[in-house]
Amino acid sequence: MRLVNRLLGRRSDRAPYAIFGGIATDAYKTRSLRSRLMPVPIPEKLVLPLSQNLGVDAIAIVEAGDLVQKFQLLAEAGEPGSVALHAPTSGLVSSISNATVADEFGSQRLCIHLQSDGENRAIETVPEADYRALDHLQLLERIERAGICGLGGAGFPSAQKLSLGMKSGIDLLIINAVECEPFISADEALIRERGASVVVGAEILKSACLASNCIIVLQEDRADAIEALKKALENSSIELMTLAAGYPVGGEKQIIQAVTGMEVPSHAYPASIGVLVFNAGTAYAVYKAMVDGEPCVSRITTLTGAPLQTPKNFETLIGTSVSFLFDLCGIDTTRHTGTIVGGPLMGIQLPTLDVPVMKTSNCLIAMSAAEFPPDEPELACIRCGFCAEACPARLLPQQLYAFSRAHDHEQNLAHGLFDCIECGACAYVCPSHIPLVQYYRSSKAEIRAQQRRQLQSQHWQRQFQQHQYRIKKQQDEAPHQISGDAVGPLKDDEPDKKNRSREDGDKTEAVVFSRERAKREIAEAVARVRARKAGHIASSRTDAKSDG
């Protein structure tokens, strides 16, 4: 293992800065780059999760049974964090129901199920005659309408990112084409073949966030892409920077550090230091939205892994199922041991193959026992410190591990657990094979649960105070409202119980309370319900028997 601190890539005027930590991994990229970028045939069935980043759902505006055309709006952005969703092809909305999505837990999310009619009829698209004529707010609005979110990983809605940036002012726009994770080659394939479009997309983004500078960043060992980009960048104000290979230089915080030497403050957005980072795929989606007028309905996805006969990069429709794509590449099921969405270091291992490609799915890896040997058993941590050397956030993973084992969350917070970007470099280098990232994730989940409980009890405390206040107020007003009531004066030793039995003020409104009448009514009601319940129980028992 080598420290990747020495980033030696040079360009005439700008030299990259060193990032903290990092690891060197094998690339495994060439095999999927051998063939050209291919469009995927239209599958019969598409499943479109309403949330493309597994966060906030968009609001569906179609119903089951609707006929839709390609590029037609299916769901519009609602709460912050959601993005609009468009039909990738024409067909019938068969249902809007839960389906398994691409996460580690096999979660079910609400999805639009689209039955393709095979005709691929599109609604009329309105290309922007000259995007340069639009001001940045108009550009922002187009980007939002096209349903573009970050195609690199997290899927943050691009329009929201841009408007965040506008508030603080942006000096530098970084187009991230550094695919530092092994296996992924989607951005490289895109730049190699459609570099000019990416550059146009970058220029649009640049004017949308009013940035003064724009840099496209690549890894220096990707010669083809650099060549293509250099050609595309002639007569452009956009600069090119190459970084030495290493993981995780392509992470948002790390690429900012490598390009500018600045660090994004903890718990802040990059925009707070005047930098925005967009993925190259996002720039291409912006180009399509502006120049062709097409919303984001497809993306470039790498299909790779030893069990695939022809690994390649596909232009995939959103909603295509993973198993459909694997079949296209000719999968050897006997060697196939598992599936990863994303890269091997930060990706998601799927519990099932029957999940759809989303806007964030940049790579699908068919795992084999040779490339992904089964996990070795966890041994004791010997505090060798390899993890601390590898950590790009300069945390002390060995300490965080000990604190996580001890559930010592105070120390976890003091040692910056929430500055962990879960890049997995620590677990990669750990000679004792400790699944460190999983420990950190579980600790983070515990801390969040604790904090949720704290907020909850604060809320309950407020509610109780308001409840007491209300009772007090009713008590004060009571003698005027209720005259001749059976209830005597309150005893001091148990004020609340008396209060409660007496009050039902604003909920029962003007009903004058009479204890005797209430008792009588309750008794009658109890009798009625007993009778009904007896009937219910009898029927439910017979149901249960017939079920069992």
Partner: protein, 372 residues
Amino acid sequence: MQTQPSAIVISSPMQHSQRSTGRLMLLVIAACIPGVATATWYFGFGVLINIMLAASMAIVLEACALKLRGRDIRLHLSDNSALVTAVLFGIAMPPGASWWLVAMGIFFAIVIAKHIYGGLGQNLFNPAMCGYVLLLLSFPVEMTSWHIPNDVLVDGSSFSAFSLAGLRQSLMVSMPVFGSAQMSSPDSIDGLAMATPLIEFQMAGTSALLAAWDAGVSLFSRDSGAAWELVNMGYLCGGLFLIYKRIISWHIPCAIIATVTMMSTLFYAPDSSAIYGTPYLHLFGSATMIGAFFIATDPVSAATTVRGKIYYGIIIGLAIYGIRVWGSYLDSIAFAVLLGNFCAPALDYLCRPRIYGHGKKSRSVPTTEVEP
């Protein structure tokens, strides 16, 4: 969000480097070979016998301790950590030590200093040095008597320590079941020479190696007086190999060596006793090299932050020189390392690196707000 509990949730990363703790430990042992081989060459098979005895007993004790603690014996033996402890302990023991001495030390090292604390990774102190120090304090005479086979001393210029007869004699002295041996008592000949190798450097400063070279004496003869220099060279080579393989980082050994060099330069007094000798004497005349590269770098008990490692090395370096020169133990490595172990947790806490995105001032402030 509805979530179905799935059987096994696998967390990223899915790929791992090929290094394993067991292999790292084996490499550490491999790096000891040059030093151990040189020592065996000069001091006879007693060195090897110590290591073998310690290793076999360590494995048995480790297995028993794991069994008692209800751990998977095969899995945890495969980390080879007990073996490394045993090799370092064996190297530290005087050649020709009795088997029961070795047994007692290794029992203390493995069972008391390691497993009672919770096993590998939980021990605060270097197990090998704990065992060694226990023996040094309890059996000072035995621990400072070096038994060199008679043949070596009779025929000083030959290598008969390295002969079959030497092997037999060495076996007999450490394990009397092999018969009783006529060994040289340390007092009989040049006495404490072997126990306090520093005194061998009567020339105080000039290299015996170079002197022997100039005098045309064979370097491999014990007469050359170059034994300790060559042994230390062996450990230095092994240590550099470990740094090259990135198994240990350079910080601790460099800090120790720099501190010892600085201290001995500062207090160099050629006309007083040999103990205020040259830096060269202090680096190559004793166990400094094995201490700096092999013992102080035991990751479990050392500091793990970069700055912490440097301070840790400086503390050990100061202690090595201080105890050696002003204390009553010439071989101060064990005490110095244990002293460093005491400081390591505090050093790690005080030397936490500045986290990405945290300003210099807010470094010590625990952040409590977390986005939900």
